[in-house]
Symmetry: C2
Amino acid sequence: MATIDPRTRRKQVLRQKILEVSREILLAQGLAGLTMRRVAEAVDYSPAAIYLHFQSREQIAQELCFAGLRQLYERLESVTAEDPASRLSAYARAYLEYAQSDPETYRLIFMADPQLTKAVFAHRDAGGGQAALNLIVTAFTDLHSSLKRTGGKPIEFAELFWASLHGLASLRIACSRALTGDEFRLAQLVTEKITGTEEKSHAKAQRR
Amino acid sequence: MATIDPRTRRKQVLRQKILEVSREILLAQGLAGLTMRRVAEAVDYSPAAIYLHFQSREQIAQELCFAGLRQLYERLESVTAEDPASRLSAYARAYLEYAQSDPETYRLIFMADPQLTKAVFAHRDAGGGQAALNLIVTAFTDLHSSLKRTGGKPIEFAELFWASLHGLASLRIACSRALTGDEFRLAQLVTEKITGTEEKSHAKAQRR
DNA sequence: GTCTATAGGCTGATAGAC
DNA sequence: GTCTATCAGCCTATAGAC
């Protein structure tokens, strides 16, 4: 498995470098600014050389999405709170922090191009998308069993939670003026509402 | 005010027709497919003629956004329920129905291009964006006074409500597979959670 | 007002020399 | 592997004839 062949290695390094500069270009200029020519110029090769490592511009975009979803998953996975409600509260914060940290990748994954989004979600295993949602579903399962609730499936609550966070993140990205409130506060609020933990959270807010 | 001059009239008619075909092209091919050449071909004029009615492609896109926001506002405004919680429930449905009825315009307004979104929200008066949010803010004001609640400002609840609906609508548009649940049901659920009217709504669900 | 023609760009992707 | 050169196409916007 370990490829020590220097030639293969150099190729992998260049491939990685292409992805790195692509992410920088994406961040600075958006998807429309991500052109093969610009990528080539940034890694100091000719445009044709890029095609030795990636089949198309589309494939570069897809790999950026996968990398982004992995990062998002890592942020969620690093949450350690045991109490399910606290865990969901931390997920909310982590989710918005990710979107804020790399808004253009977030936009690429969810907003830029429906074809791309569909392709990315089609082979979910390649990214952390499904894994991330699973974390949230598990938290709601834990929450409901701890509260002995019966109404509503955890997957529904998880999707609702996710949609709310996505709404906050994407409105902020699309137009910072759209929301006058702080999205972290709004996320905390919606988490309380969906988990039904308003009373507890006031004490928690004091502790902070 | 009434311009009966036939020349002016013909000009207005053509302008309107340009917007109509633009919306059709947008729906079929997305923003990238909306080019001056295609618009010109669809109205059977030369590309140059379009510039007599619109300064640029960007301006056409903006006017489509304004028209879309007006339509969204009309749908919300036609809601008549007096009880604030029921009104919000109906707003949720109307909002999702609008997004579903014209997904590419919805995408254009909120997802396609941050510059465009910012421009549209910058002169809000031109569209129904601010007016629509005001309806929701009013409903939350009514709700809170009827419930004699003190915690949280109505504008926060309104923005949260909006963001949740936008999250549902935009995830559905970006990737129909992303949400496994029915978004109307999820919207009903989040409305109940945010308004805190879960008990009532069960009775309501029966009545339907 | 409407046309033709065109300036002046940009793009993704490939063929073929080295 | 990497290059140069290029194909084949797209685009917005404008100048100037009619």
